[in-house]
Symmetry: C5
Subunit: 354 residues, 5 copies
């Protein structure tokens, strides 16, 4: 992208307003444990790194990145590199993590259900989440003001219990990443169900719409892969990172998310292979059905063609056709026809055509 | 999964009770070699790391992991990391090994036959086995109280002979892993037999059920791969591990299991390729059969169409058709028809259609 | 290629004239920031490395590399290695970067639209761009005098603002590479649209031209891959390079282009897989359609063959056919025929053929 | 496999007797070069490591590994690790090499022709060869007493000339490995011939047996791969090995066998790809043939259907059909039919159907 | 191969005589630059390493390697390792490079056109070239006395100009390797043309010969790969080699050949994929054509079957068929038939079948 230009890249949502909110808390292990939550702030009301006291952790959540100036102002307040701000604004880039010494930038994609769309895999869209981890603060930028994926974390923070409140900013970042990655399992489950449904239909029906659906399922697998595969590298990078922003005890938890990411990748690959197998299965099933249609056609044709011919022969108007004058010519020829038909049927039965 | 929350993840079996049992023994090389076996213990009756005397090895077996509190209590008694307990409880995760300095956690999947199901590859299900190797104790967590895969090891321990009794906890862990991995060979054998049966049928029958079966066999290969492939990494990790819990002499044996895991992977890949080839073979066989059906149809049509036409011509009611009044018109035209039919047959014979 | 011989390799464009132009500027951060632009220079008017003053950056652009002597003379003035000159002249080589201590050579391919051709992916052709980065100069060699891909950079330079004017030659080189790589996104977008169009047509039409188009799309993917894949290695090489010609701050930006290159590669691979799936989808759709054609044929044949046979039977001229003399023979036989036809229709309806 | 249990694993050949033989020789470069060969020895007559004098090389060949006790006794005499003995006895494991400091164990598979079977690739079976290389002795364990693959080496040893007699045990081991690997070329040659035969038949015949044969050829490729691929790792391991049992001059020769193994792998992969291509070629050829059958059918049907219809029209018994009473009605209508048939033929000729 | 035995391996050409020739020259930069060329030498006339004066470079060319004794004698004169001589004589081995300290052995395959064969890709055969690079000499062994690929280098040497004469033996070796690798581009070009021709034919004709040709093209790709892929490793090995026989300035040029080799590999892979796509395209085109044939058949059958049936009905000989006696029965029924036919045509037109 154009170097040094902070512009929002990606589908336009200019009508959407940007929402700012913060949660600030001190460790639940500390004496005077406290949590303060503020929503719908203006830029001026946002904390700056200097105003966050030691022992406190501040989580600043920015919903909607369609206002470049605002994002840029936030970036400047927290000393973010221009390229970081560009990455946050550009919602078309692939997941990645970058270590800028003072802070870590992690960009992930949530796969969320588009509310307005119909159900099924076609309703999933991506939403970019940028997580910036500083010394005692975390900023999250969400593409839209809709994702409820972080609501569970908010609830756990408010609950003032568990590891989340007992640890610092790096553990909060881990929990956020974990929430995003866990969201993939739901999408994969739906993909798996879609494939199972198609599997049960593929040999019994042969409508073109199903073909299109199998194809769409394969493409959805490709679509997921683009966003899920890089996550492994992101997590491997965080785990191996020698940044002092991540404590060793949090790294053990990151290793756990890494394992989930690997599992997701493997499930996805298995699903992709299953979907590819579906197309082949469908082709075989089609050939199978065509075979049986052909057998019916051939059976009928092969039985009636000779009979019709014989009837045609005795429909000829030659003067001298002795059989026509035999008393039992008609029943005789009818019996011959019946025998031919029976013989054919026996042959086809033996060939297992009927 | 939700960090810090110890909950059982996976299909519910809440009705199932958890069974605890222990086997404690001293080395058969020691003077007063002894083995003590206890079943159906309560949590309070379980040994703790401190109560296991030096020179003694304790194997604690937990059948059924559907009681999170119990598992958590066991974990706390043996100082297991919360993430380890989570992994033990979550029966959907992929095989892995983790080194927690004080203990090693190895998670594997047994592929066992579902007793209630019909026979064949469709009856196999996975069962998670978590093996925790401490200084002089081993804890195994099995998903269900059904696996007899460890019965052979119990018998060998009781027999008070062989390497198993002569060595410590790490060798016991090796033997348990070896038993799980050896179990895969049986599944692979069955898969191989399934493929052989399908191979012998694929060119002779063309029913849709067989198609579905080939597809199911391919999917079973994918299913196996998910659980078998990571085993290699697990074993490579254990072998390369610099944990002091595994003695060098045991590592030679782990190398042996590693070789088995590699062999299993290669067999699996070969079977998967064979199953993929089956689908293609089936498609070709279908085309082949359709070809022969088409040839029959074409032969019959091509022979009888001209004859029926000729018969139709002499069935026309024109007043002035001289042939109709010839004395030998009828035998003549019948001979012409016979010649045409014979010529056609010769042509088709030359083309090897009949 | 023949070692040591400086000849132009690639399609001949001998009629085309070579255009030389320069832009020289000092940093916008300096006191007397200045930019001087000259076009249509002769070789003699070109600056030499010695004449470029410290603090100044010179960008020499050479449009058209079909005049080997001129390129060689430029190469000698800037002390380029004979192999570098060969590479610049040979427009068939794959993208690469070479570090010659005194300068860095980066060869890339622009994918540009051939103006004379029709629209669609068939109209894209490659154009080689060689970027030579020296201490305070950059030389760019373009295959033709047509590429407007660098016009944006010229405009930004003239604008005397932004990072581009504030930095030196290495940042200019980065901006040029970035412009080339960004150009790929446009081509990929068009490829994606092409695939979408084909996807919407593939199940509804079955003309041979569409087949050819799918095949052409796949080949276009292969064609792109040849030029896009090496770009990743080029950028990885530049980023890892220990050349003192690239400052650390520029490397962060190169890392960004690298990410774009990786993204382009992944998009391309996804498109290639989608195009491959299209061929399979088309084959299945064709089989599907053939199936329905066969069903019509079989239905018609199976209904009319027996009826025609019956009509044939009562067209026979036997003397003794009692049915012919029945009063209600005709309506009776017509009713029988109608019943047979109806029965057939019911059977086919049940089989869901009609 | 069950750790610590020395049992023969693999197909049973219990009726087969184990044959022991030795060849002991001193270097042909020594003053009193000598070679002593003994066959059909008992276990007691076998040399032990201590009885082999310095400068002498002893090759102990054990034909048949179906007597676990004997193999175990030999193993104990030469201080082999229990796992080594297990590996020798288990004829189902994949090729590998293990360094046990005192000796090197190399396990390979010969692909030999089953004498009782018919010719062709179906007649090949594997036979395990275990080569144990000690300081100045080599023990070879062959699965059956049938392999003549080592006869050439015996002949060269007896001939008292060439490098083989001039070097020690490591060169003998190299020569044995080389003999096994060279045996693969013969199998590959046969596979190549099989594929060539199939290639020449695949477009001209379409019998189901050929389909089965192509499938069998693909599976044979998979079968070979299981035994041939690991050989490369075995040889790479030996070449890189820092065991003092292999002299640097022998390593150069091992590098040569490694090159052969790589070549064999590449040939095998090429053959496998060719066999896969055969299946596709067959499918296309089948479609091609079906196409031409369909064209014949369509041509015949399209020509005779209208003619039969016309004949049927004039076979109708309407009282008032003026054409029937025309004098030239019959020749006229016959001419019309002939014109229609001719017109059809022209159309089909233009479409290149006939 | 049998260790230590110097025999010629590969197709026999025993009738062919071996030709020896030398070119000896001093650097064109030296004062008394000279070049001496001798052809049809006997073995005794060949220079030995000691007789080549310092500053001089000797190129000994051996055409034909079917005389093992001669090759062995040359090898002994230049102190080649027995394995090197074996490799030179064995014309079936894959390309490789070996560093024997005193000399470097590079074995490559030229792909040359068999003069006696017809044109097209079928006429290409391989010819082995072994290049031995010593301190100030180069020996080249060519399989046959036919290759003109080195004639260009001879001409450039005689021309006493250019880099070739200015540099030593390592640059000569580079130039020879470069000539071999450049020869691949010609073969690839022909392969590309072959694929283009097939591409233009594949959707319009459907003869079995074309199928065979596509298959042959794919196999040719496999054949090329066997000889072209290892070349990359050979060149990478030479470039990374720490042998003092290759000067750093020559390594820059070797890097250039390496780039060519990589490009050749990528082109080859692209062509292979295109050829694979051709088979699929052909299958789809065949299905497409079959579809249109089926539509013609179905259209004709569906139109005429009902008409023929109606004609058959009024050809029945029932006594009481009132329609037969109507005055306008015949024209009425003919009109009904025409309407049915028209209706059918409309239906088929709507379905876009005709």
């Amino acid at each position: 992208m154009m170097a040094g230009a902070a512009v929002a890249v990606g589908p336009e949502n200019s009508g959407e307003k940007t929402h700012l909110s913060t949660i600030r808390y001190t460790s639940s292990l500390a004496n005077n444990s406290a949590l303060r939550e503020e929503i719908d702030l203006t830029f001026e009301q946002l904390p700056s790194p200097e105003t966050i006291i030691i022992g406190e952790t501040a989580w600043i959540n920015v919903d909607g990145v369609h206002d470049p100036e605002l994002v840029q102002k936030i970036g400047q307040r927290f000393n973010l590199h221009p390229l970081s701000i560009e990455d946050v604004l550009n919602t078309t880039i692939r997941p990645k993590q970058e270590d800028y010494d003072d802070y870590l930038l992690v960009i992930l994609k949530m796969i969320v259900r588009n509310k307005s769309a119909s159900k099924g895999i076609a309703s999933f869209v991506t939403e970019q989440v940028s997580i910036v981890l500083g010394k005692n603060w975390v900023i999250t930028f969400q593409e839209h003001h809709a994702g409820d994926v972080f609501d569970g974390i908010r609830a756990r923070l408010r609950g003032s219990m568990g590891k989340l409140r007992a640890n610092g900013a790096d553990f909060l970042a881990y929990a956020l990443i974990d929430a995003v990655v866990d969201g993939y399992f739901i999408v994969l489950e739906e993909l798996g169900e879609e494939i199972e449904v198609l599997e049960s239909q593929v040999t019994s029906t042969d409508s073109t719409p199903m073909l299109t659906q199998i194809h769409a399922t394969r493409n959805f697998g490709l679509f997921l892969r683009r966003y899920v595969w890089p996550v492994r590298d992101v997590l491997a990078g965080l785990e191996r990172s020698d940044s002092c922003l991540i404590t060793p005890s949090t790294k053990i938890f990151l290793r756990d998310v890494y394992d989930h990411a690997v599992e997701i990748m493997e499930m996805l690959e298995a699903y992709r292979e299953m979907a590819a197998g579906l197309m082949e299965l469908n082709l075989s099933a089609l050939s199978n059905r065509m075979n049986s249609v052909m057998m019916v056609l051939t059976t009928v044709t092969t039985i009636f063609m000779p009979l019709t011919f014989i009837a045609g022969v005795y429909g000829m108007n030659f003067e001298f056709m002795p059989e026509l004058h035999w008393k039992f010519g008609y029943p005789l020829i009818m019996s011959v026809m019946a025998l031919i038909a029976l013989g054919m049927l026996v042959v086809f039965r033996r060939r297992k055509w009927i």
